[in-house]
């Protein structure tokens, strides 16, 4: 286990050290001590390493992650794992707004609650929230899966494209063009896999599925001439 103590080193040195880890590094386990809510911790990683952050983080922890597994032993500030490409980010506590925004791939697990705009504009990422999510989550979400074991706030899935939304609890309101959809066997399969991988104590059958009504996909023209 390699330790980087942010009480001793600056953010730049910490990230540069992690960025220097190549595909075949032997130093695969890293621990970041004293994060003290710093922004941009462990962003832009691109190696199969495991990074454990011993505390809470500021904005954009794990941003644009590729390959790495990042465990946050606290809560995460806005934009955690934004634009993630692959790998895994696990948050023991809560996540602030925009968690997993625009993510293209990988798995984001939030063991507490997520604030507003969770999964906004997601593009293939899988997000599992053990608790609740805030308003405007999955706004303009393009693809991927958002699993919510608790409740969802207002305007879930507004202007949704092809992302799949699974909610176990209540949904305060659905956003424009977001509708409840039939849960088919393939969806239960996806759910079972994500619940297992994220360590969530829930059964696929307990969820409802929401998706795009696809009414906004084309302009409605009376007579195009």
């Amino acid at each position: 286990m390699q330790t980087l103590d942010m009480a001793d080193i600056e953010l730049r040195e910490m990230n540069a050290t992690l960025h220097a880890q190549a595909e075949n590094t032997n130093q695969t386990a890293w621990e970041i001590k004293n994060p003290r809510g710093a922004h941009a911790i462990a962003c832009g990683l691109d190696a199969p390493i495991e990074v454990t952050v011993k505390g809470s983080t500021g904005y954009y922890c794990g941003g644009m992650n590729k390959q790495a597994t990042i465990n946050i032993k606290g809560s995460a500030g806005p934009g955690v794992a934004e634009n993630m490409m692959s790998g895994t980010v696990v948050i023991e506590g809560d996540a602030s707004q925009y968690a997993g925004a625009t993510g293209h791939g990988g798995l984001l697990v939030i063991k507490g609650n997520a604030s507003s705009r969770c999964g906004i504009s997601m593009k293939g990422i899988d997000i599992v929230v053990h608790g609740n999510i805030g308003h405007m989550s999955a706004f303009m979400a393009q693809s991927g899966n958002l699993v919510v074991c608790g409740d969802a706030g207002e305007a879930l899935g507004d202007s949704l494209y092809e992302a799949r939304l699974f909610v176990r609890g209540s949904v305060k309101s659905l956003g424009t063009d977001c509708v409840e959809k039939e849960m088919r066997p393939e969806h239960l399969e996806i759910l079972a896999d994500l619940l297992e991988r994220s360590g969530a104590d829930a059964k696929p059958e307990e969820f409802k599925r929401y998706g795009s009504a696809r009414e906004l996909y084309t302009f409605k023209i009376d007579n195009a001439y």
């Binding site: 962003c43 644009m64 593009k123 302009f219 007579n223 195009a224």
Partner: protein, 447 residues
């Protein structure tokens, strides 16, 4: 007014200036279709512009440089504030962001070829970075847009600069639009969208909401790219003093300021014509913001929106810009709206020079389309040659003017080299009306 047709005096028909033919035609079109007019390009209305400014030239009180022999430098370095690797350009005329999707892959390649030959940079757009564009662009600026289509850390690190797009002049406060006709398989894959949908991009970034957040976003982008490349912030011409101030405070290396004449691939006509300010009204306010912060020339200012000639370039720089960007003009140089396609423009219900339905994907010139047959008409090598020629002509023109004003570098042009020929231009550009030492709003003066 009366007429005596048919013997009896009668009133002749008078067209309303308010309900003019074009207005009435638009009312009828809206009534028939139920959708607002969507088009490309920038504001078409007549606006105070660079044409309303003139250079004074040199005489006894100013000493000119020999037109063809004495050195007049045109180089510019962008991103000197924080980036380890600022961008060094031979000419201050850059190519503005235009998306793959709005343009064909070959057109993007041509922009890269032409820019590289001329020693300047080109810019991606709201569709991600294509291999053609990266491969043919020596200096490529990677746009970071609200949609984040195709955004990934590998392309971010392959870029020579990052441009965070907050807004653009054609539609400050609005997002992009790409209609289904142009969402081909490749475009759909790059944007992670279903093929053939009418795609409307977000108008706000998904993971930051204000200038304090933006500062942290810039920190993240710098950390991901190792603080190597410059970070630009692009804004539309809305509130240039405040937007420039906030961009600098958020940590920008470069501010890109786009007036309402700047083009877009597609948006509502009402947005293009009625939101934003002309570039002439924006430049001095942005420069004032930089000067108030002590950052003029340290944070570079790139202006765009209706740059067409070397004279426009020289005037923008005299007003305080460090560089300019061209979009619409670059497309025209490539062959867009060329009269040689007039019969086909007529068939589309328009004429060369007025064609702006780029979103429909039926561009006869094969530039703003994803149609395989139309794309075949455009040769990226020839397009690159033409763009390079055009950039070189504009650079030579700007040099000609600078030498006539006694300047050994385009950056030495200054507001004192200019006069205005209209009151509006004088007020907007804060340049004295020709024959006077006064402009409307000049401190300690009254009208």
């Amino acid at each position: 007014m009366t007429d005596t047709t048919n013997g009896a005096p009668r009133t002749t028909p008078i067209q309303s200036a308010t309900f003019s033919d074009p207005i009435n035609a638009e009312i009828r079109r809206a009534a028939a279709t139920g959708i607002y007019d969507i088009r490309g390009g920038g504001a078409k209305r007549k606006l105070p512009h660079f044409d309303d400014l003139l250079f004074l030239g040199a005489s006894i009180s100013r000493y000119p440089l020999e037109g063809y022999r004495e050195k007049c430098d045109t180089s510019v370095t962008l991103g000197t504030r924080f980036a380890k690797n600022p961008i060094k350009l031979d000419t201050p005329i850059t190519i503005a962001g235009m998306s793959f999707g709005a343009l064909s892959g070959a057109a993007k390649e041509a922009l890269g070829r032409g820019a590289t030959l001329a020693g300047t940079s080109t810019t991606t757009g709201d569709g991600g970075m294509t291999s053609e564009e990266r491969g043919h662009s020596n200096k490529l600026v990677y746009q970071y847009l609200p949609s984040r289509y195709g955004m990934n850390p590998d392309d971010l690190r392959r870029a020579d600069a990052i441009e965070i797009v907050v807004g653009q002049g054609a539609k400050p406060g609005g997002g992009g639009m790409l209609l289904g006709q142009k969402i081909s398989d490749r475009v759909a894959e790059m944007r992670n969208l279903p093929k053939g949908i009418d795609q409307r991009s977000a108008c706000r970034h998904p993971d930051w909401t204000g200038p304090d957040d933006l500062e942290i976003k810039i920190l993240e982008l710098r950390e991901i790219t190792g603080w190597k490349v410059p970070i630009y912030i692009k804004v539309g011409g809305a509130r240039p003093y405040f937007d420039t101030t906030l961009a600098v405070k958020a940590g920008a290396d470069v501010v890109v300021l786009d007036g309402m004449q700047g083009g877009t691939a597609a948006t509502q006509d009402v947005f293009i014509e009625h939101v934003g300010q002309p570039i002439l009204a924006c430049i001095r306010e942005a420069v004032r913001a930089l000067q108030d912060l002590g950052m003029h020339r340290e944070v570079q200012l790139v202006v765009s929106g209706g740059i067409r000639t070397g004279a426009d370039v020289a005037k923008a720089m005299a007003l305080g810009a460090d560089a300019v960007a061209i979009g619409t003009a670059a497309l025209i140089a490539l062959g867009d709206n060329d009269p040689k396609w007039e019969a086909e423009y007529n068939a589309l219900g328009t004429t060369a020079g007025a064609y702006d339905d780029w979103h429909e994907g039926r561009d006869p010139a094969g530039i703003t389309t994803q149609d395989p047959e139309l794309m075949q008409r455009f040769d990226p090598i020839e397009g690159g040659r033409r763009l390079n020629n055009y950039l070189r002509v504009m650079t030579l023109e700007a040099q000609t003017i600078a030498r006539a004003c006694g300047k050994s570098h385009l950056h030495n042009l200054e507001p004192e080299d200019l006069c205005a020929v209209t009151m509006e231009a004088a007020a907007m550009a804060k340049i004295p009306l020709a024959g006077t030492d006064w402009y409307p709003g000049k401190p300690n003066t009254s009208f």
